[in-house]
Symmetry: D2
């Protein structure tokens, strides 16, 4: 299929509608991003690549990184992961404390903030140098060693991260955080600060479309069964309280970030990444959501 | 693939583990079902059929019928459906009133009780003889005209349906029920009382695996896009607060009922129905869930 | 003290401020009340009476009647009352279902709707002719036999009482309603429809300021200890989620109704009733609250 | 009245019943208290004193200190206090985050943990040396300059105070904490660590029974109106989600602490303090509650 032509066509259609989204502005670094940035990258498991717009510009991947930390933790631990974090959609906003109170400190899934913090706690327990090893893992997935944390963003996130500190303290009161809070949150805020391009993200997520194997290196990251489950988790939990909408309209497992990026995976076929900074009221890229809806509708390439 | 051999193998494996489930007993009719009943039916879009055990015995399909009423309503109305019911997983039990209070009377999705009641209200508005037309619709999908309501069960459900009456009254207080409560609930309780076999269910759901077309009759029930969306909705909302678990472990869109039945759809491939009456703590068939998990693991036939 | 002069003075002060309240309009009968109606009646345990304005005009006492039904039930039953309804302030709106779900069908207190419905269920169990006996009880307290239900209002309440029907069905699902729902709700809606004047209300509540004894008849309604407890309950639970405000600003136990009436009791001293139909956002009389705040501030006659 | 005889009598009655309470054990310092400690002190506004048991032994007053910090803040600020903390009973446990989420970071009242933390934030804003000035204030109220913080307890509280850190971070995310979190929590944990005896507590609270004036020094702490309101607030909010029970059974405004102390005020008459370390399931002194219920029942000295 001529994907680049389709990208261009959908992009032009979206240009005609008003962008009702707002760029995230809770930290200065995110608010300064050009709201008109727009990039797309599709990479197939056979190695074909289709790009559009700002597909090579790095942006703050934010919560998309929660997939990396989750997969890494999932590959390290055996038994106790699901005692400490669930696999159910939350039905509430990404930072809700209500549910955590009802569920006695066990987050609903690894992709809401509380769950991603528990994953960081597991990584702090399991790894010698958690930050370095997370970065190495992403280098391995992407094949690009220059991918790095943005320390300015990590610092800003920490200075404004009161809700996240509320979450981690609350979970620690239930015994669901085993390490020192500062160590866990240092890892958490750094992971959120990673910067990658659409192309790098599509390449890095490709193992999830390929039975757990990185196509270009042959490295086995997860078993087939666990790969299937990681995709299933993105399907039900990847978009906070808009997971149902995304599944309904786009029909692919995926994960969004507050930097305006969305990665979606079509198992056995391809990985696609869109980047458009203005966010809808649920914190997901306004045009990114519309773009992917149009894309799977026009290509009829959803999993359903 | 020799599906019947796989069915037998998994069945024998499950025989070795203790069945921790409990047959539903809130109404006498359900409590009298033989807990050892066990049936499976897989039907492919090409028309192949694979059966095991009690695949031809009819049972109370209960909430599985919510897919029929939803699809019928979805095919009748144009614009206002999604103002009145959402497409997000609920994150709470099937009969929760809490969420309905927060969401001002708009149920999270059409597969929790509140949402299915709104769908019945829409059908009462749209149809001349709602009960008869729902039945005709199921006859069309299944090709079996003897499928019917069980009036004894409908009556028992009504006599014990205090939570459902709480839900409908509460939604009416928000203006989200347009018709007389008794008319809406009469349809609701009757739909829940329908009895079908595994074979009839698999045949009836096959259009969802076939782009919206009933394979043996050629009847177009839904557009491709709406079919995709119906499957997506089953994926995120088909199993109450166990939707994430089912997606995670089984990896197919599906719908369960408190009578112990589960239907799952593999788009473009097949439809599979399992029936085993004892339920787990979430109200889904205990062995049915395990069976489908084993089935998609052994065949590697999930959508993810 | 020259109470009537104080009444006049406060009334004139309140005339100068804008009345931001709104007359209840969910049923036509209440919406037709003259919003400028204003009455006050103070009756002391020694039998002195002080009146102002429309103190002799009857109005719909609505939830104020919940004190009568509660006291009657409290005087009839021995042990099981507090298993079925609590004595804690609700912290939420008068008709919340959320709390009822958390508390497994046991209402927080007898003065929120759910609690008053449980009280009606107890009266239906305990009394031969519940409606007649409740009316007789009020005749005994007030000494006025013409006090009656307003059947038009009771009928309107029933026709619009979807939330109350949600509450009663929900409680019945938890086993906390023992009688037929229609019987219970018929009593409930009739009790809410009772019409009395400020003078009649002050006289009827006077036993609560007098150790449980009706001053003019000598009839012992409640023991001293139970009288104290009834007053305590009005203090913490008499004004829905404004109970704290009323206690804080007025400092007397009391009960409000959506018809714009408020009764307050100063133990061992007096009973005072105010009536002004426009309601604040919490459903309590806008000017009635301000009047009583000024009254206890100027006379320094609060219990604290 | 021969109060000491009454104290002895009630004490002996309570000896006969099993103490179902548990001494607080979340920090080692509290868990080491002798569970059989039992002290009572009643002080009248005329200066009479009645003591029983361990009335002169100091214990950790914990949340009772929230009345001191609240009164001090209330005497310092004019207008903005009630924008930042409410006067309504919470209806939930003392450390709930749920309500705080619903109410956008504004605690229900100054006596739940979140509210007391906001009060500390106000004191940090208003005072040069908050800790010293709070201590001076208590010295002024009690007339005893040796009353002090217990730094070991304050340190233990901080080391285990994850829920409190969750609360303060959560409120800061809503903008309802103006100062540095560490400064606010240092004051909070120190205030909770203050140690006083029953006698010292009764003397210190006596101004609340005396129109805001310290009887023995003549110092005016609060106006009559504000004193009345402080008492009203203790009535509705002094015992977490057992405030209704305490009002219902004891009928006096009061405040409890997790160290097993309870102070109650009878306006214009007296102040009474009881100390018995084992706590009921709501975190209030098991025997202290029963003692005060018996006391006001036998003396008929409640405010209702």
């Amino acid at each position: 299929m001529d994907y680049e032509k389709i990208f261009k066509h959908i992009y032009e259609e979206l240009e005609k509608i008003e962008n009702k989204g707002q760029v995230a502005d809770y930290i200065p670094e995110l608010s300064m991003v050009d709201p008109n940035s727009f990039g797309v990258q599709l990479t197939t498991v056979e190695g074909e690549k289709y790009a559009f717009g700002d597909s090579n510009i790095r942006f703050s991947i934010q919560s998309i990184a929660k997939v990396f930390s989750y997969v890494l933790a999932y590959s390290l631990v055996k038994s106790d992961l699901w005692d400490r974090v669930g696999v159910e959609p939350s039905g509430t906003a990404f930072n809700s404390l209500v549910q955590l109170e009802n569920d006695r400190g066990v987050p609903r899934n690894p992709f809401i903030n509380a769950g991603a913090i528990v994953i960081c706690d597991i990584l702090v327990s399991e790894l010698q140098s958690p930050k370095e090893e997370v970065l190495s893992f992403i280098h391995e997935l992407s094949g690009v060693n220059s991918i790095n944390f943005n320390h300015t963003i990590a610092k800003s996130e920490r200075a404004n991260g009161f809700i996240n500190f509320a979450l981690v303290n609350f979970m620690k009161s239930f015994g669901n955080i085993h390490n020192d809070i500062d160590d866990v949150m240092d890892l958490y805020f750094n992971i959120c600060s990673i910067e990658m391009s659409c192309e790098e993200l599509s390449n890095s997520f490709l193992f999830l479309a390929n039975n757990g194997v990185v196509p270009y290196s042959g490295a086995k990251i997860l078993s087939s069964s666990r790969t299937k489950r990681a995709n299933a988790l993105m399907q039900t939990c990847g978009f906070y309280d808009e997971a149902g909408q995304f599944t309904f309209k786009v029909g692919l497992p995926g994960k969004s970030g507050i930097g305006g990026g969305i990665v979606a995976v079509h198992p056995m076929k391809y990985c696609i990444t869109v980047w458009s900074p203005p966010l809808n009221s649920k914190g997901n890229s306004y045009k990114g959501m519309l773009f992917l809806e149009e894309f799977t509708t026009q290509t009829e390439l959803s999993i359903f």
